[in-house]
């Protein structure tokens, strides 16, 4: 299965990279492009970060945290993962070039690193974490409710 092979390869690569750079993302790559972890499965464990809408699996968040929102400390505390991410999201967008993509701009994810994002989440970030966002001078846009 080429997809699986792809994923495995990707994973290995990522791990390799991780080992080299101590992280899945957020670090400058020599030749390649910095990017967030790519979800390695498609099942129910996929979760989306409530602030940046990055999509990864639960375990990936647990391990590496959210690349766009490090201050949420997902890698530190399991509860953070549960509170700051949700499995309830709609649609997936694989973002390769945030700077030039119109879709990214439209969805306001144009400033994040390449990765897989979701179009919309259904929940809001809990109050306390919103506070944390503000403390870190980070913007948070709650999902629009018509």
């Amino acid at each position: 299965d080429s997809t699986e092979a792809n994923s495995r390869r990707g994973e290995e690569r990522r791990r390799g990279e991780a080992r080299m750079r101590g992280g899945g993302g957020g670090m400058m790559d020599d030749g390649g492009v910095e990017h967030a972890q790519i979800p390695n499965s498609f099942g129910h464990e996929l979760r989306a970060c409530l602030r940046c809408r990055l999509v990864k699996t639960y375990d990936q968040f647990r391990e590496n945290g959210c690349e766009n929102c490090p201050f949420l400390d997902m890698d530190k505390d399991r509860d953070n993962v549960v509170s700051c991410t949700t499995a309830n999201f709609t649609g997936i967008i694989s973002l390769m070039d945030p700077n030039r993509s119109w879709a990214a701009r439209w969805l306001r994810i144009g400033r994040f690193i390449p990765g897989c994002y979701t179009l919309a989440v259904s929940e809001e970030l809990p109050e306390e974490y919103q506070g944390m966002c503000q403390d870190n001078n980070v913007q948070y846009f709650p999902p629009k409710r018509p």
């Binding site: 990707g10 690569r13 694989s94 973002l95 993509s101 980070v138 913007q139």
Partner: protein, 824 residues
Amino acid sequence: MRDEEEDIDEIERQVRERYARSTHIEYGEEAADVEQQALLPSVKDPKLWMVKCAIGHERETAICLMQKFIDRTDLQIKSVVALDHLKNYIYVEAEKEAHVKEACKGLRNIYASAKITLVPIKEMADVLYVESKNVDLARDTWVRMKLGVYKGDLAKVVDVDNVRQRVTVKLIPRIDLQVLASKLEGRVVAKKKTFVPPPRFFNIDERRRDKDSGEYFEMVDGLMFKDGFLYKPVSIKSIHTQGIQPSFDELEKFKKPGDDMNGDMSSLNTLFSNRKKGHFMKGDAVIVVKGDLKNLEGWVEKVEDTTVHIRPKISDLPKTLAFNEKELCKYFKPGDHVKVVSGVQEGTTGMVVKVDGHVLIILSDTTKEHIRVFADHVVESSEITTGITRIGDYELHDLVLLDNLSFGVIIRVETEAFQVLKGVPDRPEVVLVKLREIKSKIDRRTSAKDKFNNMVATKDVVRVVEGACKGTQGPVEHIHKGILFIYDRHHLEHAGFICAKAQSCILVGGSTGGRRGNGMDAADARMGALRSPASILQSPGRLPPRGPQMNYGGRFGGGGRGGRGHDALVGKCIKIKSGPYKGYRGRVKEVTGVLVRVELDSLMKIVTVKRDDIADTPTVATPFREPRFSLGSETPMHPSRTPLHPFQTPMRDPGATPIHDGMRTPMRSRAWAPMSPPRDNWEDGNPDTWGSSPAYQPGTPPARPYEAPTPGSGWANTPGVSYNDVPTNAPSPYVPSTPVGQPMTPNSAAYLPGTPGGQPMTPGNAGMDIMSPVIGGEGEVNWALPDVLVNVLAAGDEGPGVVREVLGVCVVESIVGFQDVHVN
């Protein structure tokens, strides 16, 4: 230098390290406040391409492309979008189509021959539009099952477990007894609503405890039950959470006994949250149902998106208060006229009779039934729907033929079907038939015979004396195969229609040998309303007895009475006075409405002439010809016939008419003397036509001379209306004692210039100009028969009274004073 360079390198490295991480952390530079409008795509932006891929693998494809991008840096696409609701396709954002093609090469999920379509700029924004579903899965939310045995069933959420994406819902169980019984040996009484009593006295079996919720359930076959409901843990994906509109019945079933609707307020509120928004309008009366200000009433002042400003009823509170739409509910008082705008009962209007929490009980305008609806579904309106009255060819109250043998009257028209009251006399049987089940409309004019062999035709008033509907009375709407359909205003069922055998009814006003009772009076009102004198003409074939009967009914509009008169004609020797056969003599063979068939004496042939054209030979034609005359004569005698009866018959009718009969006795002896011979002829000639001598109906024993039975009242009822100038005001003794309050008419008419004969005797006064006051004069004496209701104008004793005896001078028993007055 080298050091510097190294330093510089070092610094560069440090700086890079320090700031590399923060490259992607935003510090409010994000175009947060820029309107979405400003972000619309322009020509400079990359385009969106739609690519076909393997169905069900859209997400997978997107992620694969991401991976590919990471692996190979020469991928020039910008992004890939996979929408949940769009199957089979993904969107790729790139500058050139070639880039897209390049990217898709080698992927298993995208076919090599896959189509790539460009998305127009205007539609680009729509691609990324996501309909955010507010999945508020709270407790007590109403949901509907998607799969399994309970598919489509309404359920209530009792527990939400977001982590595991599962909820526990409460359902009405659907247990298959057989299967269960075979599984368990126990005598589990499993019905549709399994009610297994909770354990009480003995120790709670640990096994019965649900480890998650800690509550006690009855475990049957691995399913948890409580209070009859089934508690089932299901995954969130298997339930519908949006747009759940529980129907009234479903909610009723869920209601636990003892739970009043208000207790269910919270559950109902979730209902409202699912409902269409924006149904509050300025001026609506609302009540707060949630929050601290619960039960506060007020009126809507202003409506914004989701906030409603209301002006509270209590003056102490500030002018307007703002509430969320969800916290308010429309409020109605009994007596409000409303219209239902959604739900099963949509379109009906009615009046609120009871308010029960969220539920209103409304009395429908059309069906006069009580219907229960949610307050949310109605708006105040003064519109009154009459409901549809016809579908296709069939209208309300039509007599229709269903399959071969059964027939019935349409009593109600619903959206697609009719309610038909079948022609089964003994017990009312209503069936719901569809349009196509009706074979045809029955429109034949038939007649039937009542209990005493009076002929009954449509529009006659009959009274039911046998059977279930005994005692009811009303005009006959339809007749078919000996079964009458009577419309009784007071009858509440079946839109007032009663089905009865003709044999079990008696014609009101028909002769029964004196058992008329109040038929006439009661019927009068109705009769008057129903019949207009002019309608007499409608019943050509009517037999005489009908006539008189109707008359007694009071204003039967003399419909058909004319017919009766006609019958008196049959066999008569007449002279044709106008038309092509003028001057001929002949014998009347048959009478049909306006036309008469006469057998000419001279020509041996039968010709058809108009009624007006023939004249009774013995008497001068003129009088007979005068419609008014007949009317006049009619009046006193045939209350119904009276006015517009252009038939001569009426005149002759007197003989036939009950009144006539009744009066006959006295009359004959006096005023009718001149006429008596002919009259006798008629009467004798057609004794059977008048068969029942409705004359006696009014309760006048035939034997009683001077019995002007009801005539007094009968007259009163007579449509002497035609002589409007008459009665009431005339000082005539005939007080318009019409039950209906109409001018006495006949009598008065008789005495007034208007009245032809001025008295029942008119016929007797054949030859006299009906309109001639002379008659009136004569009549004056003549009418004073016993039992005639008169208005005493004599000195000292004015007022209504009943003539008790006539002895040259009238002895009147005054109604008011209970004393005898002697009047002239």
